[in-house]
Structure formats: C-alpha cells, structure tokens
Symmetry: C2
Subunit: 416 residues, 2 copies
C-alpha cells in the first residue's frame, strides 16, 4: 500500500504552524507497515485541494487528508472530496447528537454552521471523534482509500490511533497483526548504539529494527507480524536478548516511557524521595520530572541555586569553596558533591541530585562551555561525575538534565 498525506490549511502553508500531523501519521503508518511516498500541504482553496487530490490519486492508493473539517466557511475538505468522488454529503447522527448536546449544556443556541461538522460522505465509514466535534471519514472508491481527519492534533491523534489504524489494517491485505517492543536507552549516543548493533540492523528482515532518537534518549523499535502475542514473542525475544547482551547497561526500559518516568517509578516503588539542586540547568530537570502526573509521590522539589549566593544561603556550600584564589569554584566536583548531599539533608529527601556547569554561551570561572558536574547522593554515598556536553545553551541544559537522570538511574539499578 502506497500512502500520501495531504495536510490542508493556509496557516500551515504560510508557516504559522508546523505540520506535526504529517509526522505523526507517517510514523503511525510505518508502524502498520504502510510506506508514505509523498506529503503535500495545500491551503484552504477548493481548486488547489482538488488538484492535490488528483495528483495523489495518480500515485497513491491510500490518501489521508488532515484539516478543514471545522465549522467555518474555510473548512472545505469534506465538500471537496464529496465533489471529487461524486458522492453526496450525509449527516452522521451520533456526531449531530453530540454537537446538539454540547450547545444544550452551554445553554446557547447552536450556530447553524456547526452542523457541518457532523457531515460525512454517502457510503463512507464515519470515524468517531473522541475529543472534538468533527466526524472523520474513511471511504474506498476505484481501489483508492480516502481518509479525512480533523486538523487539531488533540482530535486527530486519537482518531488516527483508534479508528484509522484498525481500518487500514483490515484493508492492507496482511493476514497477521503487528507486534512490537520498544527498547529505550540512555547515556549512549544514537550513532554509538547503531554502531554496536550494525550487523543486526543491516541483516534485519523479520523482526524489523527501527532506531528513533530524541535529545538525550535513544530508542529502538523491534516489530514483527505474527498470529499471536506468543508467536511474536518467540521472534522478538531472542533479538531483544542479543541487544541486551551488547548494550544492556544503557537499556532503561522495554516499553515506551521516558527516563524521568522510569526513575520516578523506581523511586516510588521503593518508597524513596528525590530532591534536586540545579545550577546550570536552571529548573529544567525539575520541569521534566514534574511533567509526569503523580510525580510528587517521589519528587519533593529542590533548589534552583543559580547564583553562588543561593548555593551558599540555601544549600550551605562554603563561600571559600565557591569563590576566591585557588577555590574549586561553583563548577567543580566539590560543589556538586556538597549540593547533592546538602539538598537531600535540608529537604529530608532520601536522594539528592545536583547539576553545576557552564551552559554558555561564554565560559565561566575559566572553565569551558559544556563542562558539567553531576552529583548523586543516596544509599549513604555520593558520586560525582564529570561530563563534557556539546551544543548550544539549550541543548547543554537539556542534555545535562537527562545525563543527571541517567546517573541516578544507574545508582538505583545497582541497588536492585
């Protein structure tokens, strides 16, 4: 099956928003074994949309459009597809009921144009919208599949995951469903990881091995088709075991969770609490941790000791460690150690994690940009790690926060 994604919207075309929908859909199609050959963006203009559909039909057999299903006169996608395929628009009852109920609850009369959101094509499958009003559409004509999805990502994503994927799977000619396992790594670069697994990646056929990289984390997805979860596991597990034997030291999860989720999970499982002392990361580590719902169970908070004054006042690092002739300075093993130990003491937390370094753009204390010390205090001991990060201020901050989480995870793992 060859797919093409058409994103509709003048705000995309003009660069007012980024086309994250195309990425999400392309990734999701890859998961179900469908290759995307083209992506197109077109404005809210009927004749150009029709032209884009015509070109797509000539080269793809699955066409997924996002955007233009809203209530306004700019929202043309369903009308254009109806005309393109020579089908009528019909009202989808459950969506109409939902829209009417919404206005009834608000106690305001329904604006007429809102009813447009309940329209789909005659003979098409309606795709329910879990988080919004506009119904989606899936229809096959002359061997080509057409799917219409809403533009807002919070409506598009659940519709794609829960309605579109199964719809495509049932038409893709594959007799067996896909099973996959996500392996997540920290403290190792993507290219280094790939290098260690190069022979496996080059020889892959079934299961497939797909690497994914995000700042500070690397993931590999193993995927196979099988008649059952057991049959899939019989193929996936030997490969996973081989990967573990090579790079298991860096594998923090075999499911799609972040490093901060894993660390918080390990801490709360053991009834332990963490406090942090952030200098150069300036709150980013805490921000990552508190992005996880329920993080307060294992995360107490901490101190943003951005200046030497605060390192001294709130975390009792002696001024003669921080400043003066021959002093180790704020960016030093000694300061990192004291910050980690003292933040755990003053907050009465079981673990103290500290980060102090030079985020740039200019050097500090004569120390180079990217030099960072990470202190991990817990289980009655303190370890300090020195790392040299590369990149700009933004990436140095993020990589340092992720690196601190990695070293905390290593300590937690060593105590299993």
């Amino acid at each position: 099956m060859k797919a093409e994604i058409i994103a509709v919207g003048t705000e995309l075309l003009m660069g007012q928003i980024v086309n994250t929908n195309a990425q999400y859909i392309a990734k999701g199609l890859a998961d179900v074994g469908v290759g995307v050959y083209y992506q197109t963006v077109v404005g809210d203009n009927a004749s150009r949309m029709k032209e884009a559909l015509g070109i797509a039909r000539s080269r793809a057999d699955l066409i997924i459009c996002t955007g233009g299903l809203g209530p306004t006169q700019d929202d043309l996608t369903r009308d254009v597809l109806a005309e393109f395929l020579g089908r009528k628009l019909v009202m989808y009852g459950p969506s109409m009921d939902k829209i009417a109920a919404f206005f009834e609850k608000r106690g305001t009369p329904m604006v007429e144009s809102n009813a447009r959101q309940a329209l789909t094509l005659e003979g098409a499958d309606a795709l329910p919208n879990e988080t919004g009003m506009a119904v989606g559409t899936a229809v096959t004509q002359d061997g080509t599949h057409y799917i219409l999805l809403p533009g807002p990502p919070r409506e598009m994503k659940p519709m794609f995951d829960h309605a579109v994927k199964p719809w495509i799977e049932s038409r893709s000619g594959h007799v067996m469903p896909l099973f996959s396992v996500m392996l997540k790594f920290a403290g190792i670069g993507e290219s280094f990881l790939e290098n260690r697994l190069l022979d496996l990646i080059e020889a892959q056929t079934d299961p497939t091995i797909a690497p994914y990289a995000k700042e500070g984390e690397v993931a590999i997805r193993l995927t196979t088709r099988a008649a059952s979860r057991e049959a899939a596991n019989a193929k996936l597990q030997p490969l996973e075991a081989e990967i573990r034997s090579r790079v298991g030291d860096h594998l923090f999860a075999s499911e799609d969770i972040t490093l901060e989720q894993q660390v918080l999970h390990m801490l709360s499982e053991r009834g332990l609490r963490l406090a942090v002392a952030e200098s150069c990361t300036g709150g980013q580590l805490s921000d990552l941790l508190t992005a996880i719902p329920g993080s307060s169970e294992a995360f107490a908070g901490g101190v943003i000791c951005y200046t030497n004054g605060l390192k001294h006042k709130l975390l009792q690092v002696p001024m003669d460690v921080l400043e003066g002739e021959g002093a180790p300075g704020a960016v030093s093993e000694e300061t990192a150690r004291l910050l980690a130990e003292n933040v755990s003491r003053v907050t009465e937390a079981d673990f103290g994690l500290s980060i102090t370094g030079v985020a740039g753009p200019s050097e500090s204390e004569g120390k180079p940009v990217g030099l960072v010390f990470i202190g991990v205090h817990g289980y009655g001991r303190t370890e300090v790690v020195q790392v040299q990060q590369s990149g700009n201020r933004e990436t140095i901050k993020l990589r340092s926060a992720k690196s601190a989480l990695y070293h905390l995870w290593k300590l937690l793992k060593s105590q299993l």
Copy 2:
C-alpha cells in the same frame, strides 16, 4: 510570485523528524511578500524527486528545495536538478577550499565523497554556507527560479536569511524593501486581541497586519514597503499608535523578544534581582528564565517547593496554613503570598514570584484542575492574583509560568 517548497528526505517522509524547514521558509517568504501555494515532501529517490519538480514547475515560479546536499550517496538533490534542467554540475571553489581546510585541520585525509558538497549547477549563483560544508544553489531557467538549500536547520536558516531572501527580493519585481515592526503582547488571548483590532485587520492593505500566536504570548507584525526606514516609520507609527491606544496595557515589547527577556531586561536595568517559588509549575518558570544568556544578572534562582514539606521547611509556610481542617491549603491566596514574600527574604532578592496551583490531571485539596494563585512581591508590597487556566497538565504549567511573568511585568511597568 508563486512559491512551492519541496523538502527532500526519507526521514521526513517516514515521520522520524518534523518538517520545521518548510515552516521557516514559508514564514520567511511571507516576510518578503511571496505566497506559498504548495509544500511537498519527497524521499531520497531520484525519479520521485523529478516528478515532484515537474509538478512544481507546472504551478509555481519559485521552487525551493531543502535537503539532500550532503556527501552521501543518498544525497541526490543537486544531481536530480542538474539532470532536470539539463545543466552540468560544477565545482564551487570557495566551498571546496573550506572542505579541504576542514580535513587538513582535523589531520585526516578527506573522504572523496565530501567534494560533492562543493558542487553547484553551471550558470547558477552559489549560496555560501556559513555554518556547514554544502554550498547552496540559485538559478533561473525558462522564467522559473530554483533554489537548493541544505537540510540541517542550522545550515539552512542562515543561508535562507542572508543569501536567499536578498536573491528573491532582487527578482521579485518590488522596487522598495520591506520594513516591519513586531508588537508582542502578554496576558491577552489571540482571539481577544484580534477582536479588539478587527476593523484594522479587515481594512489592512498597507501596512499589512499579521497575527502570530505562541503558547502564552501573542504577536502582531506590521509590514510595509518603503524607500527608507524613515518613510516606513511614517506609515508604521500611526498604526502602532492606534494599536497601543487600544491594547497597550498588554504590549510588552515592540521588537521580537520573549516576555522573559523583557522582564530580565527591566530587572537588570534597575539593578534588581528576582527569586521564585514554584509549586505547580515545577521549575518551568526558572527554566524559561535561565534559557536567556546572562540571566544570572537578574535571576538568583529559587525553590521548587513541590511538596508541602518543602514549602514549610525551605520557605517557612506554617503547616497549619498548608494542611488540616479549615486551613487555606497549599493552593490558596495565603500560601502564594507567603511563598512570594519568604522566597525573596531567604534569598535576599528584591523580588519574589510564586506560583501554586493544580496542574492536574486530578483535582487537589478539593480544588479544580487549572486553579492557580500567583504571588508577586516587590517594591514593598505583595499582590496575589487568582487565575483559572484551561488545557492539560503541560499547558497549565506553561500558561501559569507565562502568567506569572506577565504579572511581574505589570508591577515593573507600574513603577516606571
């Protein structure tokens, strides 16, 4: 001039990365008055790239390709365009020198394929690459302009801004350059702002008025063509004055800076320092502030008082304010006030800014998700503002952090 953007790369097509280049270019073209009619993404495949070029030529007179200028065999864009236009590839000397110098400095022999990055088309203009190896290309044939840019954003952006924009400007038939002013607003929603300016937006011809929205901030760009900066100002200033008279209370800058930059600037101008007490935002406010180079001049740091224990231990909020029958609780005006006052006292900072609220996903202390109290202490007084944020945990955190900055900015402004 009608433009089409073609982004080349299998990693884009498969959804491994987001197509931020298309957005950047589309926005930049809008700045110089060029409309984008289509965006396309195509993989590293010569025949499909040629097909995309053919379609683009039939409907656009400016075609900008990004990606595929690197040294590997996958990087086909320049070869494909050369064949498409029937031109030879020629070596661009300055790029070749730069590549050779790079390898000489590293002390390693140059891998042959790297020379490919110095190739451009016969008769084309070479576009210098300030931050990388691959030279860009700009060429006109049969009335259509073709531009090739590298894929990595850190190479593409400076090349687009410094070489492509003037190249297009000189061919767009406009005799006068563009001038614009960016107005930035906080504490006001995009739709509310647009509503207040609706008659101006609808009547716009020259200067044009373009709204931009990012989470927690709204911007408007006024643009005009003029023979000189003075002539432009004569057109821009009356419009800016009219906008100021309507929504000036929310206008924090008439240049493209963030709210946190403006607040830090106002603080350091006055020799003042800020400390923060973050509960529900969990470090995000500090993270935003410390993203700005030099922020330590006006930002001391603060406390992530995520748990009640830390609010009490580090910031002396009495436990009977935080917990117990009839207590105001952690999410209350009283706690916000004490946090703001106490964080400024214990850190010896001039200003204390506090945020305490319910980030969700579930309610807390019987208080609804999104309820947030912001405390601003400075100039000898403390103000507490209660806000009700909407959205999920992530947006509630970000909006609360931006909202706190807005209220601090208001206090600073009132003391001008």
